[in-house]
């Protein structure tokens, strides 16, 4: 008996030792280094999709020319990336170069000391003069630069199907009232006026942003961002939501828009297949069409116009909503050698000639100064010029609501705006729900 107990204990001890040993080696290899920031050199996470290749080309070129300062590149889909990167930054395991949108998220990184101050880098005129100043401003917090633009300018505008406009004899509307009367015309012709992906919530955001700006001017959003008491109860916000619900009531959106997804491109597909006349969208709509049905663009069927003015509104009709650009920040938790590599990359390779060409090829207008000659040689000079000028001459370029707001209010606005579109809540309830995020 004793012997058998002894042997059991021995086995147990061996088992425990193995377990602990395993756990310990596990920590050693996958613990502090798993962000890919240490040991393996500098790392970078990019977004998969239309611009992925431009980023890959840029880093491949850099790696070939600088074998001692190589970057390992990993691509993620948009939504998972946003959540993954925040967790990684919080845990001090962010990639060396952090891809971002500026706004509330960048602000929270700066407050947490998670990103490097790049002010010295932009003091170099060679770097500073490369970018359009209004776009580069998106990487500044409190007068210091923490992020540099790395992607195309993304103003939101209305894209439309010229064939369908011809069918009802309409011209692009200049005012909201014109737009509403055209909605009725399209309905009579059995054409859906607007397509939008109501299933993903974010494509609904520009409707609120634009109407708020056209009705009340940039002050409305600025009050909200400043956390002013009851800022969401501003009459401009309420009127904007009323206008959205009136448009929904008038049948302004394609039937079942709340079921339409955007990752599959189903929303834009309705535009180029002739089922819907218009869509209010980021330039990604253009890129989606370019990939799915290039003939639609080549034969000149795709039109575009800025968001219409609201009669009596305080906002400038040249104001733009969208994503000025995306930005690179350098992780503060990276090793010194990796930080050095990241700085060298930003200084020498960011938005260089090859990079700019790649972005243009994919339907993106890079935020670099003096782009005119390059645009003239591109595949669709009219469109690229329109986008470039729209961004360059905008008195105010408002960042998408979910990015401009902090994460908490950003999440709330997505859900509440979707409920406005579904008419589950009133504009007053929307204001009350959103005001609750101001105090927290």
């Amino acid at each position: 008996m004793t012997a058998s107990v002894m042997s059991r204990r021995t086995v147990l001890a061996a088992g425990l030792a193995a377990l602990f040993g395993g756990a310990m080696t596990g920590c050693g290899t996958s613990g502090p280094k798993s962000g890919g920031t240490a040991g393996g050199g500098a790392s970078v996470w990019i977004l998969s999709g239309v611009t992925e290749q431009a980023f890959r080309n840029s880093f491949t070129g850099w790696n070939d020319a600088h074998p001692d300062q190589r970057f390992s590149v990993q691509a993620f889909a948009n939504d998972p990336y946003k959540q993954k990167v925040r967790t990684a930054v919080g845990a001090g395991q962010a990639p060396t170069l952090i891809y971002g949108w500026g706004g509330g998220v960048l602000d929270s990184y700066v407050k947490a000391g998670a990103v490097e101050d790049l002010s010295d880098l932009v003091a170099d005129p060679h770097v500073k003069n490369r970018f359009i100043p209004s776009i580069a401003a998106g990487g500044k917090i409190g007068g210091k630069t923490y992020a540099l633009p790395n992607n195309g300018i993304k103003p939101v505008m209305v894209y439309y199907n010229k064939d369908l406009f011809r069918q009802i004899g309409a011209e692009p509307p200049k005012t909201w009232d014109e737009l509403m009367s055209q909605v009725a015309d399209f309905k009579r012709a059995k054409i859906a006026p607007f397509t939008v992906s109501g299933q993903a919530k974010w494509p609904l955001l520009p409707w609120l942003s634009y109407l708020m700006d056209r009705i009340g001017g940039p002050r409305v959003l600025n009050d909200i961002l400043a956390g002013k008491h009851k800022a969401w109860s501003d009459p401009a916000v309420t009127e904007a939501n009323e206008k959205i619900q009136a448009l929904v009531d008038a049948g302004g959106f394609v039937d079942d828009f709340a079921s339409i997804t955007t990752d599959s491109g189903a929303d834009v597909a309705l535009l180029y297949t002739g089922k819907a006349a218009m869509t209010l969208a980021l330039p990604s709509a253009y890129q989606t069409i370019q990939q799915a049905d290039p003939k639609f663009i080549e034969s000149g069927k795709l039109g575009y116009f800025p968001f219409p003015a609201v009669t009596g509104g305080k906002g400038d009709a040249d104001d733009v909503v969208g994503n000025p650009s995306n930005y690179w920040s350098i992780s503060a938790s990276a090793s010194d050698a990796d930080k050095e590599a990241a700085r060298a990359y930003l200084k020498n390779a960011l938005l260089n000639s090859q990079y700019v060409g790649d972005l243009l090829k994919e339907g993106n207008v890079p935020p670099v100064a003096d782009l005119g000659p390059r645009i003239a040689k591109s595949s669709d000079p009219d469109y690229f010029t329109a986008v470039y000028h729209m961004a360059a001459k905008a008195p105010n370029f408002a960042l998408s609501l979910d990015q401009a707001l902090g994460p908490k209010a950003g999440d709330a606005v997505l859900t509440n705006l979707q409920q406005i579109f579904l008419k589950e809540i009133t504009p007053e309830k929307f204001a009350a729900n959103m005001n609750a995020t101001l105090s927290g």
Binding site: V5, R8, R9, L12, G15, L16, L19, Q83, R86, T87, V89, G90, S108, Y109, K111, A112, A114, G198, Q199, A200, K201, V254, D255, D256, F257, A258, S259, I260, T261, S264, A266, A269, L270, K275, G406, P407, K408, G410, D411, A412, T415, Q418, Q419, L422, E424, I425, G440
Partner: protein, 307 residues
């Protein structure tokens, strides 16, 4: 003790009893250690976090009871609880009869049934995310299955109608998990001694009566196992719902686990998310406990006494 009656049915259970007494308590240690490290410690962490304010990036601040009172007062939490219970009940009502009948059907040894059984089990091989993405495409009102000739009636506002979407979610979940429960029932039906059916046939019981008075009572234990798995599983449904609807439209499918995730990782409010996590644990433990207790599962009563 009647231990030394080698051929009585009691023998097996008596030996088990003896081994239970004889085994060294230390053998529990590895399992206990894993449980403490991977279950209790994180749970304690969540309880502590539920009293703090943290956005996942900066410093952790003490929040006292505020998170708890906020979460309890928030109508979204109440809505999430109601939705979670709805999905537990509806899922059970949909999945149990289907998997029971399919299980009985596939338990037959005929060739064609074996072939069909293999087909039924295919969804079990697919990952939840893949299932959800595929259904998202199929359910598209314009380019989905409704676009196929003759199937236009299927072009509905499946994922956009707040009143409909929960049932769509239940359907997709059932599509994915019915095969698993079918497998349980199939195995259980094959365990039923043929002598019972022979006796029933001699007594003049037809197919329906055999099912009602032999098969069903014999499946009691499996029914409880399968129900427990379904109920506790429904409580943590996340992946399919997250990919399929993201909790929307509005809050129509924002189940408790989804509410927890979105609060924690989209709104970055770890304190409130931890409150929701603790609530989820308490409900889950309560349900599992109630199920095993009130169904007599823990007493392990044999269904084949006297055979």
């Amino acid at each position: 003790m009647s231990v030394l009656h080698p051929r009585t049915p009691a023998t097996r259970s008596s030996i088990t009893q003896e081994q239970r007494h004889g085994a060294n308590g230390l053998l529990v240690l590895p399992a206990l250690l894993m449980f403490v490290v991977f279950a209790l410690v994180p749970l304690a962490g969540a309880v502590v976090l539920s009293f703090t304010q943290w956005d996942g990036l900066g410093d952790i601040g003490w929040a006292g009871r505020r998170n708890w009172s906020d979460v309890v007062k928030d109508p979204v939490t109440g809505n999430a609880l109601v939705l979670t219970f709805k999905i537990i009940v509806v899922s059970w009502l949909v999945q149990t009869p289907i998997s029971l009948l399919l299980g009985v059907f596939t338990a037959g040894t005929q060739r064609y049934r074996a072939a069909l059984a293999a087909l039924y089990f295919v969804p079990l091989l697919l990952s939840s995310a893949a299932v959800a993405i595929a259904f998202k495409a199929i359910l598209d009102p314009h380019f989905g299955i409704g676009g196929a000739p003759g199937l236009h009636f299927l072009a509905q506002n499946w994922l956009g109608d707040p009143d409909l979407v929960l049932y769509v979610v239940v359907f997709v979940i059932a599509w994915q998990f019915v095969p698993f429960h079918t497998l349980l029932y199939q195995a259980a039906v094959r365990q039923i001694p043929a002598s019972l059916y022979e006796a029933a046939t001699i007594d003049g019981a037809g197919r329906l009566k055999q099912f009602r008075y032999v098969t069903l009572p014999q499946l009691r234990g499996t029914l409880i196992t399968s129900s427990t798995l379904m109920v506790t599983g429904s409580l943590t449904y996340f992946d399919v719902v997250f990919v399929l609807t993201g909790g929307g439209p509005g809050n129509s499918t924002r189940l408790l686990p989804l509410d927890m995730y979105l609060t924690g990782f989209a709104a970055n409010d770890m304190g409130r998310a931890s409150v929701l996590a603790v609530i989820l644990v308490v409900i889950g433990l309560g349900l599992a406990f109630a199920l095993t207790r009130f169904t007599g599962f823990s007493r392990m009563r044999s269904e084949q006494e006297g055979l």
